[in-house]
């Protein structure tokens, strides 16, 4: 019974004594110990794709990979959220580069060989994605997939709970606030380059990818006016 397992997961994370961690943090930690995976992340999605809001990750590499999917606008979380179906890629070495030309190479370079992304959805609305990263290649067994789906359901309940009890511990507002500069920078770039918002975000992401920095770091430079997007994208007006 999947519902019974979801209830059990929620019960465990809700009664966790460690009050420093947010509910999404605890969910990711519980998922990491329940499944044979190396890293777990939960990201919020909008109808347009990744929102850039990462609710929780188990480790720095998982954060980098979530960030990278946002920077590139491609990867399993984009695909899972777009289709509403789980994306299971057990062998990135063979299939990764074909499926996701840029993300595939980056995720392999980070030492990840399998990735599983499960959409978090309520009816037709997709609120986010649960991403599982694994060092070794190989498919999840049927039982493991069932367990992963139970964690995805539990993550959906957690997100809806946070939306319903806004601001109690900042578990939702905090990560959303932390992305504010990206959107501010996007707005500034539309004026600097005289382009639309989608194009501006693309340029921002491209600059991050090309310089090996995070989108947040580039955005902070733009907002503080240390960086200006001039007439051409190759120009880097860092001063």
């Amino acid at each position: 019974m999947r519902n019974a397992r979801v209830a059990e997961i929620l019960n465990v994370i809700a009664n966790d004594r460690d009050e420093w961690d947010s509910l999404p943090d605890r969910l990711c930690a519980a998922c990491l110990s329940a499944l044979p995976v190396s890293g777990v992340g939960v990201a919020l999605m909008t109808a347009d794709g990744p929102s850039g809001v990462v609710l929780a990750v188990t480790d720095a590499r998982a954060r980098e990979l979530e960030e990278l999917q946002f920077a590139l606008g491609e990867g399993p979380c984009v695909e899972a959220s777009g289709s509403g179906h789980p994306v299971l890629e057990p062998d990135l070495l063979t299939a990764g580069a074909v499926r996701w030309p840029r993300f595939g190479a980056a995720v392999l370079a980070a030492g990840v060989n399998a990735v599983f992304a499960l959409p978090l959805q309520v009816g037709a609305i997709r609120v986010g994605v649960l991403d599982l990263y694994r060092d070794t290649p190989g498919q999840l067994t049927a039982a493991e997939l069932a367990e992963a789906l139970a964690f995805a359901d539990a993550a959906t309940v957690v997100i809806l709970h946070l939306q319903d009890h806004d601001g109690t511990d900042g578990a939702l507002a905090g990560p959303i606030d932390s992305r504010a500069e990206i959107h501010q920078a996007t707005g500034m770039i539309t004026i600097q380059l005289d382009v639309g918002l989608a194009e501006a975000l693309l340029r921002l992401r491209a600059r991050a990818y090309a310089t090996g920095r995070t989108v947040s770091a580039i955005a902070a430079d733009v907002v503080s006016r240390r960086m200006h997007f001039g007439g051409s994208d190759t120009e880097n007006a860092e001063s």
Binding site: T46, V122, Q184
Partner: protein
């Protein structure tokens, strides 16, 4: 199987069927009301559900006769439905004199419509009572134990269906709110960026200008943000009209 058993089995299948795609609450409750009269020793059946304030409303009836509908509504003041909803237990009285003693206004109205018995079964899941199934009969006296058990089983199945439907609606509402909150937050930050760059302002001053303009012109912040992004509001207009107009309450008031 006897005819009754077949009909009972078919009723449970019907009720379960409505739980899947295209759930229609009213249709679902009408099935329950109609089948209650067909299956049980009852001449009329009605379903009352409670709103958020505990007020009871007729949701379905085996017959749509206006005076019968009024009789259900009357039970917001007194009657088996109200007692049943409040206690979460089945409510019945053995005989008309006992009914009149409990419900002095309701009972004569019931008799005027030709009924001589009224009972109510709770629609309850664990501690939550969401309404009651009302059963009226032409003859006085209590319903058989067997009928009550079947009636309660149907009410129970219907309750599970209704509660599940409500939970799904509530989750969808929260999910939609989250999407809206995310999207409007993104647009607000983008608008701050657009305005800051266009007017050469620091980010916090750009936001202050937007907020003052919205407040002093009775506009919503999200609407102002959209207009800035779409280029419909330039910073000169914003600055000019961000100051309080004569007679308008000062910002922060």
């Amino acid at each position: 199987m006897t005819n009754r058993e077949q009909l009972l089995a078919a009723t449970f299948v019907d009720l379960a069927d409505t739980l899947v795609a295209d759930f229609d609450v009213i249709e679902f409750l009408h099935t329950l009301a109609t089948r209650s009269v067909e299956l049980l020793d009852a001449d009329a059946a009605g379903i009352m559900l409670a709103d958020h304030h505990g007020g009871l409303h007729v949701m379905a009836s085996s017959t749509e006769e206006a005076r019968l509908l009024e009789l259900y509504e009357l039970q917001n003041d007194e009657g088996p439905c109200l007692d049943c909803f409040r206690s979460g237990r089945a409510v019945a009285r053995d005989g008309l004199s006992a009914m009149r003693a409990s419900w002095p206004v309701f009972t004569p109205e019931l008799q005027k419509l030709g009924f001589h018995s009224a009972q109510a079964l709770p629609m309850r899941l664990r501690n939550e009572t969401i309404g009651a199934l009302n059963l009226f009969r032409d003859r006085p006296g209590l319903m058989s134990e067997a009928d009550l058990r079947i009636g309660q089983a149907m009410a129970d199945v219907a309750t599970v269906g209704l509660i599940q439907e409500r939970a799904i609606s509530a989750s969808e509402l929260l999910a939609a709110q989250l999407q809206t909150a995310l999207n409007s937050r993104v647009r607000l930050e983008q608008a701050k960026g657009v305005l800051a760059e266009r007017a050469g302002l620091p980010m916090d001053q750009a936001f202050q200008l937007m907020r003052d303009y919205a407040r002093n012109n009775g506009r919503r912040l999200s609407e102002v943000a959209t207009h800035i992004i779409d280029g419909l509001l330039d910073d000169r207009t914003l600055r000019k009209r961000a100051k309080p107009r004569p007679g308008a309450p000062p910002p922060g008031a």
